[in-house]
């Protein structure tokens, strides 16, 4: 590989890692400074919607894994915080995120990350407040690739 091509490749990698870390830092602010974020409903809605709109990311797998887990944790503890004022739009984003996040590379077998991800997908499809399940399923059918749909299907059949 020529030095110029190598340099361009390195720059691209650095760009992607910078972007991933910036998005991950928003996730960490939402996760670890929840009280501060929730102190302003406008900030909470805006920041959560913005963060979800930037996910998923692919280059920094460790940070991605952590951010996916944050979503699952919030869906379990405070789903309204994630769904915000526009649950249908959030459901579309979640379907896209989870269809990416349910992959082996994003979980460590020594933890319960896989089950956590599967639970979050099952929750969105089966028991989240309307219109989340309907929109989530429609997005899976109409927007996602076959491969992504298969991942969602695999999560739905996992015994938790």
């Amino acid at each position: 590989m020529s030095p110029k091509v190598e340099e361009k490749k390195l720059k691209q990698t650095q760009y992607h890692h910078a972007r991933d870390n910036a998005i991950a830092s928003i996730g960490k602010i939402i996760k670890y400074q929840t009280a501060y974020v929730m102190s302003s409903p406008q900030l909470a809605q805006g920041l959560v919607a913005y963060w979800l709109g930037l996910l998923p990311f692919h280059h920094d797998e460790a940070e991605a894994q952590q951010n996916f887990e944050f979503i699952a944790d919030f869906l379990e503890s405070n789903p309204a915080f994630i769904f915000g004022a526009d649950p249908a739009n959030t459901a579309v984003k979640l379907a896209k995120i989870f269809s990416e996040s349910y992959q082996e590379k994003f979980w460590d077998d020594s933890t319960n990350q896989k089950k956590k991800m599967a639970w979050a997908i099952q929750y969105c499809v089966n028991s989240a407040p309307s219109p989340v399940p309907e929109t989530f399923k429609q997005t899976c059918q109409n927007v996602l690739s076959n491969e992504s749909q298969q991942r969602i299907q695999a999560a739905l059949t996992l015994q938790i």
Binding site: K11, Q14, Y15, H17, A18, N21, A22, A24, S25, G27, K28, I29, K31, Y32, Q33, Y36, E63
Partner: protein, 116 residues
């Protein structure tokens, strides 16, 4: 030749930054003098430099200070300065510096509690 020697020097500096991070983590009560030297001479020199790798070294050290020493190790003013320096690189034209800054901002959120 000079370029290669410089690269070796920067590699050595990054290795030193990693070691300092481990010291912050494992010998928190013994690193006061080291932190003072870093704050008073090494870090100002790194950030005043035109060299991107020296600046990256500086941000790495600050990220580790926040992660392993936390706000309780510093005065409010010192911690505020550390946060300001890390955040100031979040829109830098260098992706490598933005990455180190972005990582640091997440670490600040995770480790600074109410000081956030």
């Amino acid at each position: 030749m000079i370029k290669e020697e410089n690269n070796n020097e920067f590699d050595l500096q990054f290795a030193a930054a990693e070691l300092m991070g481990i010291l912050f983590k494992t010998h928190r009560e013994f690193v006061g003098e080291l932190v003072g030297t870093l704050q008073n001479s090494m870090l100002p020199a790194a950030f005043a430099s035109d060299n991107q790798k020296r600046k990256k070294f500086g941000i790495f050290v600050l990220d580790d200070m926040v992660e392993h020493l936390g706000p309780s190790f510093f005065t409010q003013e010192q911690f505020g300065q550390i946060v300001q320096i890390i955040c100031s690189f979040s829109s830098d034209k260098s992706a490598a510096l933005r990455q180190a800054s972005g990582y640091g901002i997440g670490i600040i959120a995770q480790n600074s509690g109410d000081a956030f």
